[in-house]
């Protein structure tokens, strides 16, 4: 592998890692801060992708406006969902959480089948992002992939800022470490959790919307993403946003170079990484580091 190819592969790895981070950050928020094992997280990713498919014709060239609309809709959806289902889960055992969120996967998949059908659909990237640029005479690289990476970085920074520098972030961190104490201080913890959950859903949906023009939308697309996201969350340390970022990039690199150098074992690499990290640091790379 020459140097130019190596650089392009690094770019691929970073780009894949960043997209993973966007989905996994929502999962780690819900998992780490609220203590709920949410298997339905992949479905929120799927929800985002299908939202992009449904909204794209309505917004035409206003791609960014569509993203905003999609985020608002999915946050609202998450808000209601927490109210109706998840708010009853916090005090329950993990088994019950797994059962209910698994049931939600089935419901969402079936609803998707009834509403949109089982066909594969494409989503067009907006015209101002649909071109591509040459990469050292080797291949061309679509502008949309660059846009996706930049969007992911921007969201990562914003998330860091909210959690570490704002009053809301302070309450979220406090609520994660001691729910009862926060309530004792006069903060409406139920509302706080509802907001965090809605935010987690919106993040996953946003990732789905950004990924839709890259990956097209198809049945069962949430399932594949869910497993990698759990790997990212476990490697990064449950509940840690910065851990999720580091872990996503690690997974991106291992997956990319694993596919190139060890084609036959490419599926194993990511899980091997997880096993090594867990042996070395059972609590993950960063424990509640935010």
């Amino acid at each position: 592998m020459d140097f130019a190819t190596f650089l392009v592969q690094c770019l691929n790895a970073v780009q894949y890692g960043l997209l993973l981070f966007l989905v996994a950050s929502g999962l780690t928020l819900i998992f780490g801060i609220m203590g709920v094992i949410n298997l339905a997280h992949g479905s929120f990713y799927m929800l985002g992708a299908y939202l992009a498919f449904g909204l794209a014709p309505l917004f035409g060239e206003q791609f960014l406006l569509m993203l905003v609309a999609g985020v608002l809709l999915s946050a609202l959806f998450g808000f209601v969902l927490e109210w109706v289902f998840f708010s009853y889960l916090y005090q329950r055992e993990h088994l019950q959480q797994v059962l209910m969120t698994y049931a939600l996967i089935l419901v969402f998949e079936e609803a998707r089948s009834l509403i949109v059908g089982n066909d594969v659909h494409g989503v067009q990237a907006p015209p101002w992002l649909s071109g591509s640029f040459a990469l050292g005479g080797l291949m061309s690289y679509p502008w949309y992939r660059v846009f996706a990476s930049v969007a992911c970085i921007a969201i990562a920074l914003a998330l860091y800022w909210v959690v570490n520098r704002t009053r809301l972030g302070m309450m979220i961190r406090a609520g994660a470490s001691n729910r009862d104490m926060v309530r004792g201080l006069g903060i409406d913890i139920r509302l706080l959790y509802r907001v965090v959950f809605a935010g987690g859903v919106a993040l996953a949906a946003l990732a789905g919307m950004i990924a839709a023009p890259l990956s097209s939308v198809y049945p069962g697309m949430g399932g594949g993403v869910l497993i990698v996201c759990f790997v990212v969350v476990v490697i990064g340390g449950i509940g840690s946003i910065s851990g999720a970022l580091v872990a996503s990039l690690l997974v991106g690199f291992v997956d990319t170079f694993g596919k190139v150098f060890f084609a036959e074992f490419s599926g194993v690499g990511v899980y091997l990484l997880m096993a090594i990290v867990l042996v070395w640091r059972p609590e993950g790379l960063m424990k509640r580091g935010y």
Binding site: Q9, M139, Y144, L214, S215, G220, S266, G267
Partner: protein, 387 residues
């Protein structure tokens, strides 16, 4: 008194029904084990529609006997396959099994059919093993093996003068079989496969491998993907600018049922399959017209395979004059039939797989248009079949 009369009448009716059954005039029980839910639900519907269309064209009867359908949704779930197929074999005591789409499920069906000696017609699943190591006199297929379109693509690629090829697929049985077929056809024509790339199923992150293809610059790339993976791969391939420098070819599934989503990225792609969207033959036109009239939707390759499954069964039953007890006559006749299929006439090999023309198709708009016959009367080598 009246009750006694009724009972006698009932007994008489029952006894006649039993007698009728013994003479072979009762309905033939057909067990349709197809996906009714999940990703492949649409394919299952098309196969069932195709099968029933042929039966309706024969006046609702095959070889003069009524048909009774039993249905099980296989959910394309191999773990449930053995239980599901036994519902049809043991509970419903069907005479003939028809199914299915998913290869893993079909392999379990073939095993159960072999053990219970039930007739089985496979209307889609392309696993080589069904008419390879698993082959049996009572098992036939109306579709293809994964090897067939792969091999035909390899032959065409070699004829085009390509020397170095790379292959890419999911790391699972169907992909490996197609890639093996391609390599065989391509290397027989003087080409060489320089590298096989694969992605774990159902992962759709191809960017790293596309970079690898760009770096190696082969003359041609052979791909085997289906459904959502096919859409993403073809779009990524075009977005990476590779379409202009390294031509992409594939088994027909790369562009079947996915063209609307692939859009401009798929235009001009060459794929090989045993059916094309615009085969202008009277047989195909008549079939498509009848199908559209009956089901208000367009026939596809899956509908054709369902239709032909019924044709093969009909040939076997006609030879035995509808008498299911003459099993040897039925299985022999099913092997000897020349099926007048919408795809073109084909025969069955000794192993029970179609010996058929594989077409080279080119994507134009939302159609896979017929371009030429890639390989005439291509038979699967049926490796491992001992019968």
């Amino acid at each position: 008194m009246q009750l006694a009369h009724r009972l006698t009448a009932l007994a008489a009716a029952l006894c006649c029904a039993v007698a009728a059954h013994a003479q072979g005039a009762g309905p033939i029980k057909i067990g349709l084990m197809l996906p009714a839910t999940g990703t492949y639900a649409g394919l299952g519907t098309a196969i069932e529609n195709g099968f029933k269309l042929y039966v309706q064209e024969q006046g609702g009867k095959l070889a003069g006997r009524e048909i009774q359908y039993f249905k099980v949704d296989d959910e394309s779930e191999p773990a449930k396959a053995t239980d599901n197929v036994n519902k049809l074999i043991k509970r419903d005591a069907v005479d003939v099994l028809v199914g299915t789409v998913h290869s893993g499920v079909a392999l379990a069906m073939a095993k159960a059919a072999k053990d219970s000696n039930t007739l089985l017609i496979v209307p889609n699943a392309g696993a080589d093993a069904i008419t390879g190591p698993m082959c049996a006199p009572n098992i036939v297929r109306s579709s293809f093996t994964n090897w067939q379109p792969g091999y035909a693509t390899g032959v065409v690629a070699a004829q085009k003068g390509y020397k170095r090829a790379m292959t890419i697929t999911w790391n699972y049985a169907a992909g490996a079989e197609a890639v093996k077929g391609f390599a065989e056809g391509f290397e027989k024509g003087g080409g060489k496969v320089v590298k096989d790339l694969n992605v774990p199923f159902p992962n759709v992150e191809f960017q790293a491998l596309l970079t690898e293809i760009a770096a190696q610059k082969p003359d041609v790339v052979f791909a085997f993907f289906a459904g959502g993976g096919a859409v993403k791969f073809v779009k990524d391939y075009a977005a990476a600018g590779l379409t202009k420098t390294v031509p992409l070819m594939g088994s027909g599934f790369l562009t079947d049922g996915t063209l609307e989503a692939q859009g401009a990225a798929a235009q001009g792609l060459l794929t090989a399959l045993h059916y094309a969207d615009n085969l202008e033959t009277p047989r195909n036109n008549a079939f498509r017209k009848a199908y559209a009239l009956a089901y208000k939707s367009n026939a596809d390759v899956y509908a054709v395979q369902g239709y032909d499954a019924a044709q093969i069964l009909d040939a076997g039953l006609l030879a035995a004059k509808g008498d299911l007890a003459k099993r040897d006559v039925i299985t022999a006749a099913m092997r000897k039939v020349t099926v007048d299929s919408p795809r073109g006439k084909f025969t069955l090999s000794a192993a029970g797989n179609p010996v058929q023309d594989i077409y080279l198709r080119e994507v134009k708009g939302n159609n896979n248009e017929f371009k030429s016959v890639a390989v005439k009367a291509l038979a699967d080598p049926a490796r491992g079949c001992k019968m």
